[in-house]
Point group: C2
Chain length 280, copies 2
Amino acid sequence: MTQPVVCTSVAEMREVLETRVAQGVTSVGLFPTMGALHDGHLRIAQTAREENQLVVVSVFVNPLQFGPNEDFDSYPRQLEQDVAGLSASGVDIVFAPSTEEMYPGGVPVVSVTSGQAGSVLEGATRPGHFDGALTVVNKLFTIIQPGPGVEFRAYFGEKDAQQLLLMQRMVRDFNHRVQIRPVPIVRSEQGLALSSRNQYLTTDDAAHALVLNHTLRSLAAGELTLDQARGRIDAEPSVKLDYLVTVDPDTLAEIQPRAGALALAAAWVGPTRLIDNMKI
Amino acid sequence: MTQPVVCTSVAEMREVLETRVAQGVTSVGLFPTMGALHDGHLRIAQTAREENQLVVVSVFVNPLQFGPNEDFDSYPRQLEQDVAGLSASGVDIVFAPSTEEMYPGGVPVVSVTSGQAGSVLEGATRPGHFDGALTVVNKLFTIIQPGPGVEFRAYFGEKDAQQLLLMQRMVRDFNHRVQIRPVPIVRSEQGLALSSRNQYLTTDDAAHALVLNHTLRSLAAGELTLDQARGRIDAEPSVKLDYLVTVDPDTLAEIQPRAGALALAAAWVGPTRLIDNMKI
């Protein structure tokens, strides 16, 4: 088990990548993260490890994807611990740039927008969130692009379903030479979808939060209507439903529950906002 | 003089490019155009020819950068004639994709935006124009990117000053591996800045349009104040001034005329909108 190379500048990242490609690497996997890595992240890193000769994990808390009232300042930052976990997963390179390195001079003048598709569901309660996420991942794709002749894959969890769809659209709309690899949701033994924000939950709230998974399972099994499922989530102590909808997984348009649809849920559990989803 | 290779699909474009890079090409020049090429374009193509081993000229009338009341439908399309001109300029590859090839399924979901900087000056009278231009050029940069180890340069005329600045910002903000090469304005013998739209001008209007160049020269020479210059343009028969301002060439912020500033003018000449600019 060797330590990953930690690159903090774009130039250094490109230099290390080019050296490895010149040495004969023919596949590169990128897993973009905001750090605070948990087992869910590490399993994605391991998937990337299995599928690629060279694995890059980016660790960057991207200010553009946080709203003014969100937790940018308090978002956990623990690079040393993250690098240790990634080392155990066999990751080759950790790209951990500063905010100034990614956005020299401040907010970019030219950026990425997802328009209407980024303003519904999660986008409705988090204005600008997807545009911020797309803007930074677009940069990562351009920075880490290994060039013609090298397979380039990027890994995104299915937990952030809307993000995954928009990333796939960006690749198509921008002609990025990268293949998006969706990775299934990782859950705790009890069923809670793993998230960096779970660490904000009290023991009681973590137990209440399980209603999301349980309800999605009942909905997927056809045991509840959408309205019943909504009622069940809202009836849970400490839990306030934001939305529960079923959508076409290709377009995110709302449809009635049916086989192949994707059920998406978001709820506040105490002061913490959680999301989950499940295929029907 | 050999005929350029004409590529109409992204896959074909990339294949031809990769073959040439594999054969040892170490510099690629891209000149994005909407076709209807005139001598001004051909001189830019020749500049790219002098500076690069491989020259790609894209010919694509980009619907996204035309407003609903602009001349998308009537914009001149003359690929055969354009290819002949580019052949004489020694261009290697003409990339001439269809609208469906560039925007499969219609308007992209994810696109590029220039926000405030794209909504002033030309952007004020052409809402969405710069976002459309950036969106297509972003795709061209990604499609034609030759990869690490190959110099990649893109050529833009200084005539479209705001476009040039925004392209430079996009390269910086998106980490594109391309060097923007600004090319000075080419003018007719009388001084009219060359434009595809000049062919819409009657002989009389072409004569009236010279007031733009003459006035910018007088302004640059300090012979007129900004207000006097505006008055002179508006006094010309058939000419209606849209704006005449002096700006900081790095930020496009309006400043008073001074050495180093850039004077930007836009005017309707008969039914045709023309722009011009000059360094002071």
